[in-house]
């Protein structure tokens, strides 16, 4: 379920100034779309997207200056709908008097920034999309290993949290244990975070709940990360075939994002943390253009060719 976002959250995240309406910052924002009212200023209100943040820049405010007071007040009152969350004025411009008056009547805050319209537009869109995206709760552990976001999945008791603990001890960062809140940030990016109540916590059988930030310091935790790789831990079975060369292409899909996945057999005595760490490094090397399996394969084919010609 998407989190609810208030105007106050937006102000805090984008460091906006509050010009008026401080008492009404608890208004809810329900869409990540942002409206730039242009035609509305001319009086055309069909399709006016009232529930969006209304962003006014140089073009809009300078056009407004040419309007009569009565016309302007009429337009501004129409723009201040009960579902309109807030007005944002870019480039440190002064809000028109008529807007101040109508926004006050409708109890809608007016916010401002010194950033340009396009910059504040993209900042606000990114923030709102992250906050309002659909979320999925996944059973797993999310760790940042050398900048690679690795989600460790597997049945209960297979050793996910214990692996995470050792990874943290080895200098990597914990994002979430047991429950990862996953959302799609854009077409290719999947982001995971901990539910607020669980952040920084790990549950280790036999010890109970430990606070990783408290035990290992601020460097051991991270609020959220892109999910680049899924490492699935599976109990060892003799008749199961595991990837021997690293050339299979398993993956798992969340929303529209396909995330590469590897399955690691778990057997007592295998040091899982080091294996997961190596998997992350190998993934990193691969995304930087070096694929050990591919290089080996090419070398092998060359050797085979040579051996064939010797005949």
């Amino acid at each position: 379920m998407p989190e609810s976002v208030t105007v106050a959250d937006l102000v805090k995240a984008n460091r906006l100034d509050v010009y008026s309406g401080e008492d009404h910052l608890d208004r809810l924002i329900t869409t990540s779309d942002i409206s730039r009212p242009g035609l509305e200023l001319t009086g055309y209100f069909n399709y006016y997207p009232a529930k969006r943040i209304q962003l006014l820049g140089i073009t809009e405010t300078s056009f407004a200056k040419g309007m009569t007071h009565e016309k302007m007040l009429d337009v501004m009152r129409k723009m201040c709908q009960p579902e309109t969350p807030a007005f944002v004025i870019s480039t440190q411009l002064d809000p028109p008097e008529e807007l101040k008056q109508s926004a006050e009547e409708a109890e809608i805050p007016i916010l401002g920034t010194k950033l340009t319209t396009s910059r504040v537009l993209s900042n606000m869109t990114n923030f709102l999309e992250g906050k309002l995206a659909e979320r999925q709760s996944v059973h797993g552990v999310l760790v940042d290993i050398y900048g690679v976001g690795v989600m460790i999945t597997g049945d209960s008791g297979v050793g996910k949290s214990e692996t995470a603990l050792e990874l943290v001890k080895r200098g990597h960062r914990l994002i979430a244990d047991d429950r990862v809140e996953v959302y799609q940030q854009d077409e290719q990016t999947l982001v995971g975070a901990a539910p607020a109540i669980l952040s920084h916590l790990l549950e280790i059988r036999g010890i109970g709940i430990i606070d990783v930030m408290n035990l290992f310091g601020a460097g051991a935790v991270r609020a959220e990360t892109d999910i680049d790789l899924i490492v699935h831990l599976q109990a060892w079975k003799d008749d199961n075939h595991f990837d021997r060369l690293g050339n299979n292409s398993e993956s798992q899909k969340f929303f529209d994002v396909v995330v590469p996945k590897i399955t690691i057999p778990v057997r007592t005595g295998r040091n899982l943390a080091i294996i997961v760490e190596a998997a992350a490094m190998n993934f990193r090397a691969r995304s930087m253009g070096y694929d050990a399996t591919k290089v080996f394969d090419e070398n092998l084919n060359r050797l085979i060719k040579q051996n064939s010609q010797n005949k």
Binding site: L245, S308, K311
Partner: protein
Amino acid sequence: MEKREFHVTAETGIHARPATLLVQSASKFSSEVSLQYQDKSVNLKSIMGVMSLGVGQNADITITTDGEDEADAMTAIAETMTKEGLSD
């Protein structure tokens, strides 16, 4: 102990993919399975060992199985060889 010779007919030799499959069939059995090529012998349950030989087309290889299920192991490996077009 069972011993059998194979003549590798596949143009690409025993490259990564068929090597994996051979190792998979060999690993199902408890018998010791080895592959001999020229004067080198490797454990057929070890993937890196098998690939390190770089067995090419027209090579003659000898496969040996030794243990309780040696006959079944040999049959399974021979089957994989034929199925993958490595040998007739």
